[in-house]
Symmetry: C2
């Protein structure tokens, strides 16, 4: 399907994408672009990339340029790429925020060669060694502003994600950012904050962690996530994240009030309402 794909950033997402493309026979050659020499070396060792090149040269040689780096550096790098890109090439990104990037590229003369995507898959790990086979399968991939992309570019990206086993969802960039705040960004903040809550306690008492079981591990595992990746996401999606965070704090306060007032009935109601989440998780 592609002769040559450049991945900008060689980490969890781009590395897993490369493995999937190679496994499905969808690409002949993968070029890695990264400022970090150690990442390039590791990515080669792991078979994530076939070669590494400076950005401009990599872009010139590629059918698809796929950008998966922290969202704050995505915009300047993407501008450079879009200035280099030709009619027959496709540019796509995997960023967790979409409005700022789409707005930044809105008036670029090559905008129609860009497809704004967000594959909703990830783990709490980062870097090339975090790349895994079989990623993306069964998850949703959001495509934003599809009407602003050329039909051939859009179709190629749709087919790529479908081949990876993803389910496509279309929405505008603004709505994407609201929804991502609710189903992804807030989970990371609660996990980070829960880890800090418990680590605060650890200062007093070490033995506590002997007890940490599956429930704790499940709610706190996202706290291992990369600050370099998540800081820019929270900042770029600040308004939406603050909305959800305020709602979440107010929901926690309801539990607090139930306990303080020994309002057992309302406590039961709160938990019964929360049980409705089963509808959504399968």
């Amino acid at each position: 399907m592609f002769n040559s794909v450049t991945i900008v950033g060689v980490g969890l997402i781009s590395g897993s994408l490369s493995l999937a493309l190679k496994e499905k026979g969808l690409v002949k050659n993968v070029i890695g672009v990264s400022r970090t020499e150690a990442s390039i070396k590791k990515a080669k060792e792991l078979g994530l990339i076939d070669e590494s090149l400076p950005l401009a040269e990599a872009v010139r040689k590629s059918d698809l340029i796929y950008v998966a780096i922290p969202v704050d550096v995505t915009i300047p790098i993407m501008r450079q790429i879009m200035d280099l890109v030709q009619e027959n090439q496709i540019v796509a990104d995997a960023g967790s925020t979409k409005a700022a990037l789409c707005d930044a590229l809105a008036d670029h003369p090559m905008r129609r060669r860009f497809v704004a995507t967000h594959p909703m898959w990830g783990t709490e790990y980062s870097g090339p060694e975090a790349a895994v086979k079989g990623a993306f399968v069964g998850r949703s991939c959001v495509i934003c502003e599809k009407e602003k992309s050329d039909k051939d570019a859009l179709e190629k990206m749709e087919n790529l994600y479908k081949c990876l086993g993803m389910h496509l969802v279309y929405m505008d960039a603004h709505n994407h950012d609201i929804h991502a705040a609710y189903v992804s960004h807030i989970s990371h903040i609660t996990s980070f904050a829960l880890a800090n809550t418990v680590l605060e306690k650890e200062k007093e008492e070490d033995a506590i962690f002997e007890l940490a079981g599956g429930g704790f591990e499940s709610t706190v595992r996202l706290a291992k996530s990369s600050p370099a990746m998540w800081g820019p996401i929270f900042m770029q999606n600040k308004e939406n994240v603050l909305d959800v965070l305020n709602e979440h704090i107010s929901q926690l306060r309801k539990f607090k009030s139930c306990l303080e007032k020994e309002n057992y009935e309302y406590l039961q109601q709160l938990m019964e309402n929360a049980n409705k989440i089963s509808r959504i998780l399968k």
Copy 2:
């Protein structure tokens, strides 16, 4: 090891215990006691119990009486059992709070036949159909006030949990309740509250849930837990749970303040600190 074990309550914990004891050949006969006829029927179908009897009769026939019911009803039922129990019998419980029960039984003339335990394993599901094989393996089991149990009773319970693959931890009941608030109870409250946060949003917008990925599922899965089980735990461990909940809300407020003030540096520090949780989770 045991001729006959009575499980009081036939659900997730007692059912999984029964399956494990049977698999290891540690029990000949398991008697179920439950007020719910449907649970008894289901437990028999699933092979969790061999027969069901009224409480007094079941106690009389058993070497071990194992109580795993919501913590608010544990105390009155446990008093009944302790009044019936003989020198050669052992009573144990699996409750998620330990101080209230240990205090309630402190002066009972048969106290030394009781072993206060909390196997730190569970899932978000409940009832006999939630029982699974291979539960408990690799997890911690807390034993409280071991000095108040007869040596033979303590040893038999220690061996039972070790045979199930558990790691034993000893602490007093008060410390158990503090630690359980940090590594288990707070995770459930944050999950319940996060589910309510997102369900609140769902009223406005249905499509949001198409996006729910692995991170969301992980942080919110405990919200499926049983209110009948968790309400009494939160209430009985109110003081400790409120301490942790206040700390957690204050940790969330730090994230909120970073976003509001665009204090990127402090945001990074908060996340980097949270990353230290890797030490604890493996």
